[in-house]
Amino acid sequence: MVTAAEKENIKVIVFQLMDKEYAIPVNHVQGIEKMMHITRVPRTEKFVRGVINLRGVVTPIVDLRERFGLPPVEDTESVRIIIVQLDDIEVGFVVDSANDVIDIPVNSIEPQPEVVGVKEEAFISGVSKIGNRLLIMLHLDKVLNLSE
C-alpha cells in the first residue's frame, strides 16, 4: 500500500564534492555551467572565488570545497558551476562534478546523523538514502550566510 505522503517527491540536482554526493532542490537551481574565467574579488572571504560574467550578469562564485573546509584541488574537466538562486541572491557554486537530476521521496529525508563532525555539518539540512547512495541535503540559507 502506498500512502499519499510516500508519493510526494522532490526533484533535486545531485553533485559531488570529494567522495560524497550532495543535493539541492531543483527549484533553486538556475542552471549548470562549465568552468569559465573567474575574476578574483579582493578582500572577500576565502570561499568567494570571485565573479563571472553569466550572460551579461555579474555573478559571484562560491567554492563549496573551501566553504566546507575540504582540501582544495586543481580544477578538472568535470568541474561545474551550479547557479543557485535564493530570494534576491544569485550565486554560483563550484563543485567537483554535477551528476544527475533525480526525484527523491520527501519522507526518505532524515535529519542528519550527529556524528558527521566536520565543518560542513552546519550546512546540512538532512540526508536521504536512495538505494545504496547517501545524498546530503544542503541548507542553502546557511551556505550563503556570509557571517558564519
Binding site: H37, P42, V48, I52, I89
Partner: protein, 689 residues
Amino acid sequence: MEMNQQYLDMFIEESKEHLQNCSDLLLDLEKNPGDLSIVNEIFRSAHTLKGMAATMGFEDLADLTHKMENVLDAIRNEKITVDSNLLDVVFESVDHLEAMITDIANGGDGKRDVSGIVSKLKDIEAGKSIPSSTPTEQEVAADVAVEETAPGRYLIYDEYDITVLKQSKEQGFNTYEISVSLRPDCLLKAARVFMVFQVLEKSGEVIKSFPTVEKLEEEQFDQNFQVAFITKDSPEEIKKKISKVSEIENVVVVPLTDAMVKEASKEEIASKEQQQKELEKSSPVPKQEKKEVAAKKDSSASKQIAHSKTIRVSIERLDILMNLFEELVIDRGRLQSIAADVKQSELTETVERMSRTMGDLQNIVLTMRMIPIETVFNRFPKMVRSLSRELNKKIRLEIIGAETELDRTVIDEIGDPLVHLIRNSVDHGIESPEARRAKGKPEEGSVTLRAYHSGNYVFIEIEDDGAGINKEKVLRKAIERGIVSKEAALTLTDKQINELIFESGFSTADKITDVSGRGVGLDVVKTTIQSLGGSISIESQQDVGSKFSIQLPLTLSIISVMLVEIEKEIYAIPLSSIIETSIIKKSDILNAHNQKVIDFRGKVVPLIYLDEVFEVPRSEACDDEYQSVVIVRKGDKMAGLVVDSFIGQQEIVLKSLGNYLKNIFAISGATILGNGQVALIIDINALMK
C-alpha cells in the same frame, strides 16, 4: 464612460499642471499682493480646473475649486485684500486639491473631507460682503479674449443634408449654424470638441461639421469649428450651454435660413472647397499670430506650447532601450579588441566608424533619459513658505538653474535628500527675525537653491545666509556622543568639524522641532548621495551662512574608465577622478613616515600600491626600475596608484556585483570587458579615506 476613461490621463496631467501653476502664481501674488493680473491668472487656472473636474464627474474637486474661485473672485473685484492668512487658506485648498488629484491618479474617486477648508473659505468670502453678481463663464471668457467677429461660413450642404434640414423645419425644429472658437491656449482641443458635441447632442442633433468629425478628433483644426445643428432650443440657450464648457472663447449661433443653405449648396461648392483648402493651407499662419497673443497673455501657456513637439514614451521602453544599448557597448568593446588583435585595416576602420556612430547614439540615448531638475525643485517654494510661517521666520527662496537636466534615476532619488537639506537650512540655518536684527542682518533670510552642469557632473547647491555652523557646539556634541575622542577633536580642521554633522546620530538642534532635528537626517542624506555615485560637502562660516554642495554624476550607467593591469588582473579606474598617468623612476620615490611619496609637480603625493591593497597574488616579485602611476584625486587630496601597466581608456557599462557581495572595500562595481571577462571598478573615494 469610455470616452472619460480615455481622457482621464490627460485630465490628471492637465490638472497637475494647473495646480502647479496655481501654487507658483500664489507665491508670486504673495510677493506682489497688489497685482490683480496674477489673481486673474490664478482664477483662470482654477476655473479651468473646476470645469474639467465637473466634466469628469469629480464633484468634490469641482466644489472645492469653486469655493476657492469665489474667494479669488472677491480678491479680483477688490472686495477682499490679500494677506498671508488668506493665502494660507488658499494654499491649504491647493494642497487638498493636489491630494484629490493624486487619489484620482491612483485609481481613487477623488473624494475627500474638505468641510474644514470649505468653511474657512466661506468665512473669508463672507467676512467681507459677497459680490452680488457672480460672473458667469462668458464674462470670464470675455476677460480672456476680445470678442471676435463671427468667422466666415465654411459649411457645405449636399442634397441629403438639405432634405434633412427641410424635414426638420417642417416638424417644427429650429436649425442653426454654430461657430465655436476655443481659447488659443486650449490644450485638449479634441476633448473640448467632444464636450461641446456632448452638450449639443443632449438637446438636438448635429448634422454637419467643419472640419469633419474625424479631423476634429485628430485636432486637425485651428481654434474654430462650425456645426449645423437641429434643435428645439433657442439660440440663447444653446449659446449658454456651450459656454459652460471650459476654454471656449466665443460661440456664435446663427439661424440657418433656406438662402444660406442654398448658397452653401451645389453652385457654391466649388469655390467653397477652394476656400476650405486655402484655409487648411493657411491655418498655420493665424495660429502663429494667436500663439503670440497667447504668449503675451499667459506665460505658462506659451511654455506649454513650446513643449508640444514631444511624444510621451513610457519609462520602461527607455529602460529597455538603455539595456540593449549597454549590450551593444559590451560588444563594441569586444569588437575593438578583436580588431586590435587581427590588425586588418578594413576591419579596424569599420570598427572605428561604428564606434563613432555609437558614441553619438550613446549621447542621444543618455539625453533621452534626462529630465530637468525643475520637476524636483518646483515643490520647494511652497514647502519653504509653509515652513517659514510655521517657524515664524521670514525666508526668501531663490531657485537658479531649474532647467539643468539630470538622469531620471538620479532625479527619482534626489528629492528626499534635498527636502532634508532645505528643511535643515530653514530650521537650523536661518535665524528668527529678532536674532537676525540683533546681528545686523536683514530680517528676511535667504535660501538659494542652485543647479548647474560642470564636466560630467551636475552640481546642486543649497546656500543660506543664516547662522552657519557653530563649531564649538558641534565639537562638544560630537565628543558627547562619542563620535570623536577629545584628543582627536583637537587636531580636526574646520572642514573636518563641519563634516561631523554628517555622522550618524548627530543633531545640534537645541529643541527638537517638527521640521528637523531628530538626528536621523544628514547621515541618511550623505548615504543616499553616495549611493548615487555623488558626494556632498559643506562650507560654513559662523553668522554668515552655510553652503551644502552636492556633486552628482550626469549618468549612472555608462562611464569612461582607464583600464590598468596588476599581474594578470584588470581593474578600471573612473576617468573622472584621474588627473594624469605617469611613469616614475624607482629612485624618485621618497620615504616619509613609513609612507612612500613622490614629488608630483611640486606637490608631495602619497603612493598607494594597488597590488598590496588588493592582495594580488604575485608569481614573482616585480622589481622594475620604472613604475606606472595613475595620479588620482578626491576633492583637493591627491594620491598615486601604483599599477603594473596601463591598458587604455574605455567606455564601460557599470554593473552591480549583486546582492551577495556587499560592501567590498574600494570596489564600487564591475563591468564586462571586450573578452567577456569581468573587471572590477576601483572606488577612489574609499581608497583615499
